[in-house]
């Protein structure tokens, strides 16, 4: 703290400390809450801690996430930054009991209940990994493939053997079937096509 920047930083920090004392009187949201998580002030405060290695660290992390020590199992330390966040069994909201007296019925979640890492994709309108399919998945996929390919087979067979079209010949166009309009070259021999009515010509 010998240079000028350090002095400035120190004064800013002092100002921040003063504001922290004034803050409860200004905003009532955080000060009233008794939740431990909501005491976080900045995004870095929401980050999980470092990966626990010793049993003491594991117990501390389990207490931090409101879990029993035997239930706590962190994510593997694979460098993806999950830290000490618990690897919970995935139970989607749709799979939970809708008639239970949840603290938060809209999320089917109790107060201070640890959240799954992928909680945002297992909400009620999204993925339900606990769903029990009415039929096995290979059966359902094979049924889909069979029905769709059956439609294609029907289309092919009807198109080949029972074509639907008008009882009419193709349209007739003047000027040798619009030879020049369709980009014909005048130098080449023009294929002469004549269109006739069904009236017999006079003698």
């Amino acid at each position: 703290m010998l240079n000028g920047v350090g002095v400035k930083m120190a004064s800013l920090r002092r100002l921040g400390l003063c504001l922290r004392h004034i803050k409860p009187f200004i905003s009532n949201g955080r000060s009233v809450s008794t939740s431990r998580f909501l005491q976080a002030e900045w995004n870095k405060d929401w980050k999980p801690g470092p990966y626990p290695k010793t049993p003491e660290e594991k117990a501390a992390a389990a207490k931090k996430y409101n879990l029993l020590p035997q239930d706590y199992e962190p994510f593997p330390d694979d460098g993806l930054g999950k830290g000490d966040y618990p690897n919970l069994p995935i139970v989607s909201e749709e799979a939970r009991d809708p008639y239970e007296n949840w603290d938060m019925p809209e999320y089917r979640r109790n107060y201070m209940e640890p959240m799954h890492h992928f909680q945002n994709i297992t909400t009620e309108d999204k993925w339900n990994p606990n769903a029990k399919p009415p039929f096995p998945y290979p059966t359902m996929i094979l049924t889909l493939v069979a029905v769709v390919s059956g439609f294609f087979v029907l289309f092919y067979l009807t198109e080949k053997y029972m074509p639907i079209h008008q009882y009419a010949m193709p349209r007739q166009y003047p000027y040798n079937n619009l030879y020049y309009e369709k980009g014909g070259e005048p130098s080449q021999a023009i294929p002469v096509t004549k269109c006739y009515t069904f009236e017999p010509a006079e003698k």
Binding site: I164, Q166, Y196, A201
Partner: protein, 125 residues
């Protein structure tokens, strides 16, 4: 109009022009269809390709009426009806061509079968 499911042998292909000689069966020949609008007129009026047929002069009249009375296109009912009626007549002519092709194909098949039958009778005799 005329959508149907043809069923049976020797049916004409509706996507290809007639295969028989157009004047076959007309001893004095047939009247040619009259094209009124010239290529230059159709090009000047910017008529779409699918409308550059034997009703193009009525189509040009309808376009002109619509341009003159814009935006009251409903004043061109008469021109529109004339063009539609011309298209209807064209469709009727195409259906007649289909029927002619179908009957001539059946006739060719009858003739072929007759030719097949003839040598056998000669052999029996």
């Amino acid at each position: 109009m005329g959508n149907s499911m043809p069923w049976g042998p020797n049916l004409p292909d509706p996507w290809k022009p007639p295969t028989f000689e157009p004047l076959y069966g007309f001893p004095n020949g047939r009247k040619e269809r009259v094209m009124i609008a010239t290529e230059e007129e159709m090009r000047m009026a910017d008529v779409p390709m699918e409308h550059r047929d034997f009703c193009a002069h009525l189509f040009i009249k309808w376009l002109k009426c619509r341009r003159d009375t814009f935006p009251q296109g409903s004043k061109c009912k008469h021109e529109k009806h004339e063009h539609d009626y011309c298209k209807f007549e064209d469709q009727v002519l195409r259906m007649k061509e289909y029927e002619r092709e179908k009957r001539l194909l059946a006739r060719a098949e009858r003739k072929r079968k007759k030719m097949e039958r003839r040598p056998k009778e000669e052999l029996e005799e």
